[in-house]
């Protein structure tokens, strides 16, 4: 475990030294600032708006961060041949993947935590109560972010970075569709589409901003099961990514 954590730390430091991450962070902060301006528009139920927009912002932030963090890690390592001395001697391919993933996941978690705290501060400044479910809801978005990281790593082992981002966004969109909506994409084969939809991830389970904004109580078991689902799917994606990586020749 220690080699993986050391490599994760190395990845973390490397990511924090990259400009792209700070660019994404600035976009998230500007979005939060924009959300903080909602009361000035005089809308009714402004607390709900702030929560709704804020959690939506975190959701999109999780997606952008996952792409920004992970889409270029392996291609860059391969292009610069940095991966070779690492895999040739101290680490196995599995340890390399896990180290890179954990490093990126820590950055994602820190960014989501900062985003969540920022949203709480905005709510408090504007005189609104912070819902009790806000932290678990952010936790779900974080699990979604980690799952997306795993997806981005999975794509990065067999596609180019320019293709990785649209494929991830496509999966993000498709995985929020209902079964009925998915069948409409290709109504000629409803059985196939239904099966396909069941196999594809269901990211809609992570998005609970509407019930939270409307003050609907969410059972703790829901959070637990949704997180378990997300983590299991993430592990599945990482396993496939590792299988592809292991089968690859590092030319």
């Amino acid at each position: 475990m220690k080699p993986v954590m050391t490599f994760a730390l190395m990845t973390l430091r490397n990511l924090l030294r990259r400009r792209a991450i700070w660019g994404i962070s600035i976009v998230i902060l500007i979005s939060l600032f924009g959300i903080g301006q909602i009361p000035s528009y005089g809308v009714s139920n402004e607390g709900r708006f702030i929560l709704d927009f804020g959690l939506f912002g975190l959701e999109i932030g999780a997606l952008l961060l996952a792409i920004g963090l992970a889409s270029n890690i392996y291609p860059r390592d391969r292009e610069r041949k940095t991966v070779m001395p690492i895999i040739a001697v101290p680490l196995s391919r599995g340890q390399y993947l896990m180290g890179r993933f954990v490093g990126a996941a820590i950055v994602e978690a820190a960014a989501m935590l900062v985003g969540c705290i920022g949203l709480m501060i905005i709510l408090i400044i504007n005189g609104h109560a912070v819902p009790a479910d806000m932290l678990p809801a952010t936790g779900l978005l974080l699990v979604e972010g980690w799952f997306l990281l795993a997806v981005v790593f999975f794509f990065s082992f067999w596609t180019s970075p320019p293709l990785n981002a649209p494929l991830t966004v496509l999966l993000f969109i498709v995985s929020q569709m209902s079964v009925a909506g998915f069948i409409k994409l290709f109504p000629q084969a409803p059985g196939l589409m239904r099966t396909l939809r069941l196999l594809l991830p269901h990211m809609d389970v992570f998005h609970i901003k509407d019930p939270i904004a409307h003050g609907i109580d969410i059972p703790g078991l829901y959070f637990f099961l949704a997180m378990l689902y997300g983590l299991a799917y993430m592990a599945f994606m990482l396993s496939i990514a590792l299988a592809i990586f292991r089968s690859k020749d590092l030319k």
Partner: protein, 290 residues
């Protein structure tokens, strides 16, 4: 008795061309071994397959056929890989780190638990003692190569695999590298030294494997490779004169010796002629494989 540090048996590597309709054979059934404490030169023209072979040895490429073993085990085994130091060709490490940071992280990944003083000693050995805390971003190619060597030496490896390690170095730095390699051999390490700088191979290697177009064309002890079978040098002398030398073909050797004796000369020595490694290489690769 321990197995060879490195053994390659009938190694073959094919790469698929675009669309996967045809393939290109980068390595064609090469076999050799590296004995303990030996420096083996691995030479060949550009594109001969040297780096491909090294990547197969390190488990970065999967052989299409044949087998690579390190001390009799699979190169993928982490236990075996902990005994290796690898100096890649043109290393391009993450340049936002300093050499000390790299050594610290590699030490931890290798479970070495080295102290800072030990790391500074390694940096001193490779000539980077003043640069330990400077980001690699500002380093020249030669300095990056030194970082690479420091990382390879860090674990006191039993096997050093070096892929064109002196490519970007000036003559003085090349000499320093050679001295380090010889010191490593003295310590007991085996060295697999890939290069196309024949003078270096000639200076430090015990044996050489010559590759051309993916095939192994010659393998043997340098002395054997460089010794010609068909030309000899006769050293002869008469009374108090200076010794003289004469080169003759093998077929005419005995007759020439007899003639010299008949003329009153004393034969001091008859030795086979040695070619340079460059001559061996050019003749083995049909002028360099081009």
């Amino acid at each position: 008795m321990e197995e060879y540090p490195l053994q390659v048996k009938e190694l073959e590597k094919c790469f698929r061309k675009k669309l996967g309709l045809s393939s290109f054979k980068a390595l064609d059934s090469i076999s050799f071994h590296l004995s303990p404490g030996e420096i083996l030169g691995f030479i060949g023209p550009n594109g001969a397959g040297k780096t491909t072979a090294i990547k197969c040895i390190l488990g970065l490429l999967k052989p299409s056929k044949g087998k690579v073993t390190l001390w009799g085990s699979n190169p993928a085994s982490l236990e075996v890989r902990r005994r290796i130091g690898y100096v890649p060709e043109n290393p391009d490490y993450d340049d936002s780190f300093t050499p000390i940071e790299f050594l610290t992280m590699f030490s931890s990944m290798r479970r070495l638990e080295q102290k800072k003083e030990q790391m500074l000693a390694i940096l001193d050995r490779v000539g980077l003692s003043k640069w330990g805390n400077v980001r690699i971003r500002s380093f020249s190619k030669g300095m990056r190569q030194r970082v690479s060597l420091a990382l390879a030496l860090q674990s006191e490896p039993d096997l050093l695999i070096m892929d064109e390690p002196t490519g970007g170095l000036d003559p003085a730095a090349r000499k320093e590298f050679r001295d380090i390699i010889l010191a490593e051999r003295q310590r007991g390490a085996s060295v697999f030294f890939s290069s196309h700088l024949l003078s270096e191979v000639e200076t430090i290697c015990d044996r050489a494997v010559i590759l051309s177009s993916g095939k192994m064309v010659i393998e043997g002890r340098l002395e054997d490779l460089m010794r010609t079978e068909d030309h000899y040098r006769i050293t002869y002398i008469i009374s108090d004169d200076e010794p003289k030398e004469l080169e003759v073909e093998a077929d005419a050797l005995q007759k020439r010796i007899d003639d010299l004796r008949a003329e009153g000369y004393s034969i001091i020595a008859v030795n086979p002629l040695y070619r340079s490694l460059e001559e061996v290489f050019l003749s083995a690769t049909d002028g360099g494989g081009r």
